[in-house]
C-alpha cells in the first residue's frame, strides 16, 4: 500500500513539475531558457515512463530527446543572432498565424484525446521485461512482427542524415572563431584582443 501511495504522490509531483516546465517553455521570452526548460520537461517525462515500468522507453527518452534533440535545438538557437529573435511586438499577421497554428494543434490533439478509449487497467498487471518484448517483436518477421518498419527506419535515418548534410553544408561558415564575440562592425576581422592592438 505504501508503495502504491508513493507511486501516486510521485506521479503527481513529476506531472506538476513537468507542467510548470512546459509552461515556462511557452512563456519564457529567452529562447535558451525555454530550451533548458524543454530539457526539464523531457527528463521528467522519462521519470513518468519509469513510474509506468517502461524502462527502455525512459532510457530512449533520455538518450535521444534529452541528450540529442535538445542539444540540437540549443545549437540551432546559438546559430542565430540574438537580435533577430527579440521580437517584443509581433506583427498582426504573425500573431494571427500563430493563433491559427495553435488552434489547429489544439483541435488535433483534443480530437486524438477524445477519440481514444482510455481504459484503466484493473488487473493490476505489472509490465515486466519490456525490452525483451520490444526486441522480439522488432526482429520478428511473422505476421505480428515489425521487422519491415524496423528496416524502413534505417532508410528514414539515412534520409535524415543526408538531408541534414545537404542543407547544413549550404550555410557558409562564419569567418570568426566562435569565442571571439565579434559583435561590433569589423570586430570579427581582428585576431588580437583590443588591449594588444594598435589602434588604427
Amino acid at each position: 500500500m505504501i508503495v502504491q501511495a508513493t507511486h501516486t504522490v510521485l506521479f503527481y509531483l513529476i506531472a506538476a513539475l513537468a507542467l510548470v516546465m512546459a509552461l515556462s517553455v511557452v512563456f519564457s521570452r529567452k529562447l535558451l531558457r525555454a530550451a533548458i526548460a524543454l530539457m526539464g520537461v523531457l527528463a521528467l517525462t522519462a521519470g513518468l515512463y519509469i513510474l509506468l515500468g517502461a524502462e527502455f522507453l525512459a532510457g530512449v527518452q533520455v538518450l535521444v530527446y534529452v541528450g540529442g534533440i535538445v542539444v540540437l535545438i540549443v545549437f540551432a538557437i546559438m546559430l542565430t543572432r540574438s537580435s533577430d529573435l527579440l521580437e517584443d511586438q509581433p506583427t498582426l499577421p504573425r500573431a494571427l498565424l500563430g493563433a491559427f497554428v495553435g488552434l489547429v494543434f489544439l483541435v488535433m490533439s483534443s480530437a486524438v484525446f477524445f477519440s481514444s478509449p482510455f481504459q484503466a487497467d484493473t488487473s493490476g498487471a505489472q509490465v515486466t521485461d519490456d525490452t525483451v518484448a520490444i526486441g522480439r517483436s522488432l526482429l520478428d518477421y511473422g505476421p505480428k512482427g515489425y521487422v519491415l518498419p524496423f528496416e524502413i527506419i534505417s532508410l528514414l535515418l539515412l534520409a535524415a542524415a543526408i538531408g541534414g548534410i545537404v542543407i547544413a553544408r549550404k550555410i557558409p561558415a562564419p569567418s570568426q572563431p566562435f569565442t571571439s564575440g565579434g559583435d561590433l562592425p569589423g570586430e570579427a576581422d581582428f585576431t588580437q584582443p583590443r588591449s594588444q592592438r594598435e589602434e588604427a
Binding site: 540529442g68 526482429l139 542524415a161 541534414g164 548534410i165 562564419p174 559583435d183
Partner: protein, 116 residues
C-alpha cells in the same frame, strides 16, 4: 522500488544546491558596486555581447550524432534478445546497420566530418 536511490540522489542534489544558495544568501555580506557587478573575463574588459554565433559545424555534428544516437537506441533491444533470435536477428540488424553505414560513408565523402 529499485529506483529509490535515483529518487534519493535527485532529492539530495536539489537539497545540496538549494542549501548552498540559501546559506550564501543568509551569511554572505551584500554590498554590490559597479565594479563587483561587472562580468569577469580574464581581467580584460569584455568585448561585445556574451551571445556569440556558434560555428555551423556544431549543428552538423549534432545532427549526425542524433541519427546515430537513434540507431544506437535500436541496438539495445536487439542485444537483449540476441541469443534467442540468433542468426536471423544478426542478418536483420546487419541490414539495418548497412543502410546507416551508407549514410556515414556519404558524410565522410562529403567532408561533413571535417571541422571547418
Amino acid at each position: 522500488m529499485e529506483y529509490f536511490f535515483l529518487l534519493l540522489f535527485t532529492g539530495l542534489a536539489a537539497v545540496l544546491v538549494g542549501a548552498g544558495l540559501l546559506t550564501s544568501y543568509l551569511v554572505a555580506p551584500h554590498r554590490p558596486n559597479p565594479l563587483k557587478n561587472s562580468p569577469y573575463e580574464c581581467g580584460e574588459p569584455t568585448i561585445g555581447q556574451s551571445w556569440v554565433q556558434f560555428n555551423v559545424g556544431y549543428y552538423l555534428f549534432g545532427l549526425l550524432f542524433l541519427v546515430f544516437d537513434v540507431e544506437a537506441a535500436f541496438l539495445y533491444p536487439w542485444a537483449v534478445v540476441f541469443r534467442q533470435v540468433g542468426l536471423t536477428g544478426l542478418i536483420e540488424m546487419g541490414l539495418f546497420l548497412l543502410v546507416l553505414i551508407v549514410g556515414l560513408v556519404y558524410a565522410w565523402r562529403k567532408g561533413a566530418l571535417e571541422w571547418v
